[in-house]
């Protein structure tokens, strides 16, 4: 899709003309990420993270395919082959550190991408499908990352696999058969390792497929923007190429600088030393923690220490273990309902003074949850996790509907252009700069 003023693809070279007539792939690219895709002119750097997440996926697929060339998915040799890749394979250490830290960077940019969506109301109509598909990608990423972490078959790998598959054991009646079915045994072993490897190789390509749907759904209404005001005419947009290819290119540069610094100078900063000890089914590490990107959810899991039952009797309705598991899954499934929970018609947090405050409290809350999730299961962290978990659910189930009902939003600008120009008038002659877009520029080639 596009706006009516989108430029049309007209192949100049005879070869491209020939290709376009038979397979309109150049046309598809031109309309999707080229000059034929008009984008709001006022996107800020928070709009970089979608492209950066795509880049991170490419890094993961490339380094992952290389890792698979040197890996042996067998409990007897798995740990050894990863160490051998690190020590003996040419540039093997680089591939592994890039792949391990690449996962962390993928989650960093995806979390920023998600919080961008939360702040600017990107999940609201008409972009609900974009949000829902994004959550599907997030869930697939979590599954992929979890299974990938098991593959080196270190202590954290093994015990992580045991704890996470143990979550399914909490489901009444069918839980334990499901857990045994997932593992192919009564504890993680060769069967589990092999199937995790198989699925860890598969899922990134499933993610790539869902990303295509995510972008397709996005391109129906087009990108949102920091004002949340709809595009009203050609003066509100600039073409994706060269304006946002350049802006995303700059973001990619910053991303790769930070990535390289981590890979070369602090490759184990985000990992756990215990995972350099080979898996031992008879000894649990003193402090089992998942990778940092699961910490907020892990904190919610551990927040439930008391059975939910009828007071003053011994009748238990939901045991603590099941409560924790349900709450953890609910914390993500809840987000699928967000477009219908937040009923405020104003998208951008910039024009919602009350929402904005609660948004930042939520960010803080998730950071606190993350900190507790990475800490040992002892006081005061258990109590803090309980309060923070309760607040997390309250934010979505109580605060957001109430704010939507009672908040008085600030007046919205008449259009994107008006917002940009009035801002420019305060700060100086920004509208005069080349490349900022103008009333005539996007139209020039039409």
């Amino acid at each position: 899709m596009s706006f009516p003023w989108a430029k049309h693809y007209t192949p100049k070279a005879p070869l491209m003309q020939w290709v376009d007539e038979r397979l309109p792939l150049p046309r598809l690219v031109y309309n999707a990420v080229g000059a034929g895709y008009p984008v709001p002119r006022n996107l800020n750097f928070f709009w970089n993270f979608g492209v950066l997440a795509g880049l991170a996926l490419v890094v993961q697929i490339v380094t992952g395919i290389i890792m698979a060339m040197h890996y042996g998915a067998n409990e007897l040799v798995a740990f050894g082959t990863v160490e051998q890749t690190m020590r003996d394979v040419n540039a093997g250490w680089l591939m592994r550190y890039a792949h391990a830290n690449g996962a962390s960077f993928f989650f960093i940019v995806v979390y920023l991408h998600i919080f961008r969506g939360l702040y600017y109301g990107s999940y609201k109509a008409p972009r609900e499908m974009v949000w829902l598909l994004g959550l599907v990608i997030f869930l697939l990423m979590m599954a992929t990352a979890f299974m990938g972490y098991v593959l080196p078959w270190g202590q954290m790998s093994y015990w992580g696999a045991k704890v996470i598959t143990g979550l399914f054991g909490a489901i009444p009646v069918v839980g334990e058969p499901i857990q045994t079915w997932l593992l192919g045994g009564f504890a993680p072993g060769n069967a589990a390792l092999n199937r995790f490897f198989s699925l860890h190789y598969l899922l990134p390509f499933v993610i790539a497929g869902v990303i295509i749907l995510h972008i397709w759904a996005l391109h129906i209404p087009g990108s949102s923007n920091p004002t949340g005001v709809d595009v009203k005419g050609p003066q509100d947009t600039v073409s994706f190429h060269p304006y946002y290819t350049a802006k995303d290119g700059f973001g990619a540069g910053v991303f790769f600088i930070l990535f390289a610094l981590t890979v070369y100078f602090a490759p184990n900063a985000l990992g756990h030393p215990d995972n350099y000890i080979e898996a031992n089914p008879l000894s649990t590490p003193a402090h089992i923690v998942p990778e940092w990107y699961f910490w907020p959810f892990y904190a919610i899991l551990r927040a439930f220490t008391v059975d939910f039952g009828i007071p003053f009797t011994s009748i238990v309705i939901i045991p603590a273990k099941l409560m924790g598991v349900l709450a953890m899954f609910a914390s993500i499934l809840l987000l699928f309902f967000l477009p219908w929970i937040d009923t405020s018609p104003v998208r951008s947090g910039n024009y919602r003074p009350v929402f904005k405050k609660f948004f930042w409290i939520l960010v803080l809350d998730v950071i606190v949850l993350g900190y507790c999730g990475g800490s040992p299961a002892e006081e005061p962290f258990v109590m803090i996790s309980q309060v923070a978990s309760a607040y997390y659910f309250a934010h979505f189930l109580i605060i957001l509907p109430l704010v939507a009902a009672f908040e008085r939003p600030l007046p919205l600008p008449g259009s994107i252009t008006e917002a940009v120009l009035s801002k420019g008038a305060h700060e100086g002659e920004r509208e005069a700069l080349p490349g900022m877009g103008s009333d005539t520029q996007p139209n020039s080639a039409a």
């Binding site: 704890v163 009564f186 040992p376």
Partner: protein, 189 residues
Amino acid sequence: MSTTEHTVGADGSDHGNGVRRRDFINIAAVSFAGVGGVVAVLPLIDQMNPSADVLAMATSEVDLSGIEPGQAIKTVFRSQPLFVRHLTPAEIATADKVDTSTLRDPQTLDQRTVDGKKQWLITMGVCTHLGCVPLGAGEGENRGEFGGYFCPCHGSSYDTAARIRKGPAPKNLEVPPYKYTSDTAILVG
């Protein structure tokens, strides 16, 4: 599948209620293919269940003679840890003193041990929360505030009868099936 259509169908077979022979054939064919599809998927799902070699029930023999009162050992049963603990009289007394109605998973020490062998507490070393190995079987390990076992993962504490007393675990440590083959040896499984 119009039910209001009473004209003779294209295939010439109208039974008066608008249901054509072709509708029946369609439904039958699709149902048959559906059942066939489900049957074909079953082995694809079933292959993920434990294979025969994993299921081959191993039994483990444990020699109790070297374990002093107060000591415990950690051994393996079906590739999972097994705790064998020789309780001291004081530990037995502590376990017996507890009012079982206050427990999350009410069981007495007698129910969890063999008659006349009350000092031998044999349990799986698998926390009933999420499957970590609790501490307390090894020398000098943290036994938690109830003197039994302590799971470091999420802080579940078990008492001297390996019953859950505090933390998120829902059940007592599992007592596997076992029998005494002699006065100082057991066969687990």
